[in-house]
């Protein structure tokens, strides 16, 4: 096979081509600068690169190890309870340490109800705040307000709990709850007794706690929507609300769902503040104003005083359940995002 090397046919050019090619490469003449001399004297080996990537990989694998260890410890710790109660553990309402009879249903119920209550309260508010801050807020207010919501996220759970005990609970007991009983009492969800503490208080404090997370994530995804999308909607003759709906919320919806699910995950696992206001009574009641218990609270309250192995094992099994629920919620969020994004890159355009 003939190799045809293309050379530009400029008259007299070929002479000039050969010259530089004629001198040998490593010492290409007297014009060599110190920089070039230095760099060309330096060999490079792949050894450093290999060590570095091995260390990095090891650290990354640590994360696997941690999750695996957690799972192993939880499963082996709850072995006793699993053997004794089986799946029924999650559907039984009994919680009797004296007689060694345990069921997790009241805690699961309390966790779910308080978390869902929190979402119902928090999500519309969070989206509202996010929309206000990104789309409507006058420039000078934006930074301080955003900072304030971020601060809300930074307040530790135990401080929320403290505040809830001494401020929120009395407020609910004395003014909000009576009002709710009067207006919504017919539904059976808001009836006496009104202790102040209870499921509803737990839901409210959870709502306050997840609000900043949901709203700041929502704000982030909304800000990530390109300005071009807003202009596209406006240029079609949209009003500001229509612009927000078409050009902003629609594009950000997957991110917003992600933010909500993240908020849910937070609410499910939240311990201290809930423990401090939910009332800590392992019973199920239709009234939201009644006392309740959550999975995290029961562990926090009773773990260190669990006297026998079965008791401890039952508590660890509740922890295991909580762990699995959070994995499921997380996986759900991922699958959801994957399913929606498959057809449409969210950050397109």
């Amino acid at each position: 096979m003939e190799i045809r090397i293309q050379v530009p046919n400029v008259a007299g050019e070929s002479e000039r081509i050969q010259k530089p090619a004629g001198s040998s490469f490593p010492d290409s003449g007297s014009s060599q600068s110190p920089a070039r001399a230095f760099l060309q004297s330096r060999r490079s080996s792949a050894f450093a690169d290999r060590i570095f990537s091995a260390v990095i990989l090891l650290c990354a694998l640590c994360i696997f190890a941690i999750v695996a260890l957690i799972l192993y410890e939880l499963v082996s710790g709850s072995r006793l309870s699993i053997d004794k109660f089986g799946v029924a553990f999650f559907f039984r309402s009994a919680w009797d340490p004296v007689n060694g009879d345990y069921g997790a249903f009241p805690f699961i119920y309390g966790t779910l109800v308080s978390s869902i209550l929190a979402l119902i309260i928090a999500v519309p508010l969070a989206v509202g705040v996010a929309v206000f801050l990104t789309e409507m807020c006058p420039g000078f207010l934006r930074a301080p307000l955003a900072f304030v919501t971020e601060l809300l996220a930074a307040i530790p759970s135990v401080v929320y709990g403290l505040w809830a005990i001494f401020v929120l609970v009395p407020l609910l007991r004395d003014s909000v709850n009576p009002f709710l009983i009067r207006v919504l009492g017919w539904s059976g969800l808001f009836v006496e007794p009104n202790y102040g503490v209870g499921m509803f208080a737990g839901g409210v404090i959870l709502a306050i706690m997840i609000l900043p997370i949901v709203s700041s994530l929502t704000r982030e995804v909304i800000s990530a929507v390109p300005q071009a999308q807003r202009e596209a909607a406006l240029a079609l003759g949209a009003t500001r609300w229509e612009m927000i709906r078409m050009g902003v919320l629609r594009n950000a919806r997957i991110g917003i769902v992600g933010a909500i699910i993240l908020g849910l995950g937070r609410a499910l696992g939240e311990t201290m503040a809930v423990t401090m206001v939910i009332g800590n009574r392992p019973e199920i009641s239709r009234s939201l104003l009644d006392l309740g218990y959550s999975m995290a609270s029961v562990i926090a309250n009773e773990f260190s005083e669990a006297s026998d192995n079965l008791y401890l094992s039952a508590l660890i099994e509740i922890g295991l359940a909580l762990f699995i629920v959070t994995i499921v919620v997380n996986a759900l969020a991922r699958v959801l995002v994957w399913a929606v994004t498959r057809g449409a890159p969210v950050r397109g355009a």
């Binding site: 999750v67 410890e73 409507m136 135990v158 709203s215 609300w241 696992g269 922890g319 909580l322």
Partner: protein
């Protein structure tokens, strides 16, 4: 002409004009209202913290351990010290592993199955409730050692820091344009050098932000310490002994029946909040003047 008729009639005033305007106003009002509603609790919390906490802050609060039940006075000095020790252990564990894992996911395994699995696992770990973390570390360290310890508390907090740091590191590294990496390679820089001196350095404001956020988050954690650090009424610096921690102490005081302890709980909360506000503010400052903004 007939075809023309099918178009949206041009000069027709929108029949739904009033409805559209109304919707616009309603939406605006709702957004403003929700903002006010959200700001209210925050203002309330800060008001109460200052109102109830500030009056109890004095030198003794920072220098003394708690007084026994029934005695007035005392402080949270040991809890502040304990928190510092716990956070030190946590950072020493969480920061390097977190950053290294983030580098792996973003740089070395990018797009690969292993990297995706690690990212997912980090998300899982991030979602693990703090109380479960406490239980796990209890089973992992406290049970074999047969006593509570500062070490176990630090480990629990450190593990909690890892996923946050990993994910922010990864995200920040991914924000560094591919072109910057190519620029480094194009100059004949070895890979490890390019990762550390170029990519990681470029992303450093973001990575620092991630570390600070993780730090601020675990600083206020109580639940994982309940069965690990356990708490201590006395000065202790040994990492093999139970140790006091600020949030733990607040929890104990808040749920106690004593007014004097309630007072200390408020003061402790104020200190904790200030600590966190300062670090979050610092984060915002670092991120705000972040050089990354200029990176195209």
């Amino acid at each position: 002409m007939a075809a023309r008729e099918l178009r949206a009639p041009r000069r027709l005033r929108s029949s739904n004009r009033i409805r559209r305007m109304l919707a616009n106003h309603l939406a605006t009002t709702a957004a403003v209202a929700s903002t006010i509603l959200v700001m209210a609790p925050l203002v309330a919390i800060f008001f109460y913290l200052l109102y109830k906490g500030a009056s109890s802050l004095n030198l003794a609060f920072f220098t003394r351990p708690p007084a026994p039940v029934g005695e007035t006075g005392g402080g949270m000095g040991n809890a502040i010290l304990g928190s510092a020790i716990l956070l030190g252990i946590a950072s020493a564990l969480g920061v390097p592993i977190g950053i290294a894992a983030g580098i792996y996911v973003a740089e070395f395994g990018r797009g690969g199955r292993l990297a995706n699995t690690i990212r997912f696992t980090a998300d899982v770990l991030n979602g693990v409730p703090s109380i479960v973390m406490g239980v796990s570390v209890y089973a992992l360290i406290v049970l074999p050692q047969k006593h509570f310890s500062a070490f176990s508390g630090g480990v629990a907090l450190g593990i909690m820091m890892i996923p946050t740091i990993t994910r922010t590191t990864e995200e920040m590294l991914l924000m560094v344009p591919l072109s910057v990496r190519e620029a480094a390679l194009g100059l004949g820089v070895p890979r490890w050098r390019s990762v550390l001196s170029i990519t990681l350095r470029t992303a450093s404001p973001g990575v620092i932000t991630g570390c600070m956020l993780a730090f601020a988050r675990v600083a206020g954690e109580t639940a994982p310490l309940l069965f690990t650090a356990f708490g201590n009424q006395f000065w202790s610096t040994s990492i093999n002994q139970p140790i006091a921690a600020l949030p733990l102490q607040i929890f104990v005081y808040a749920t106690s029946p004593y007014d004097d302890w309630h007072r200390l709980a408020w003061a402790g909360s104020l200190v904790l909040i200030l600590l966190i506000v300062v670090s979050v503010g610092l984060v915002r400052y670092v991120a705000g003047r972040g050089v990354l903004r200029g990176a195209s």
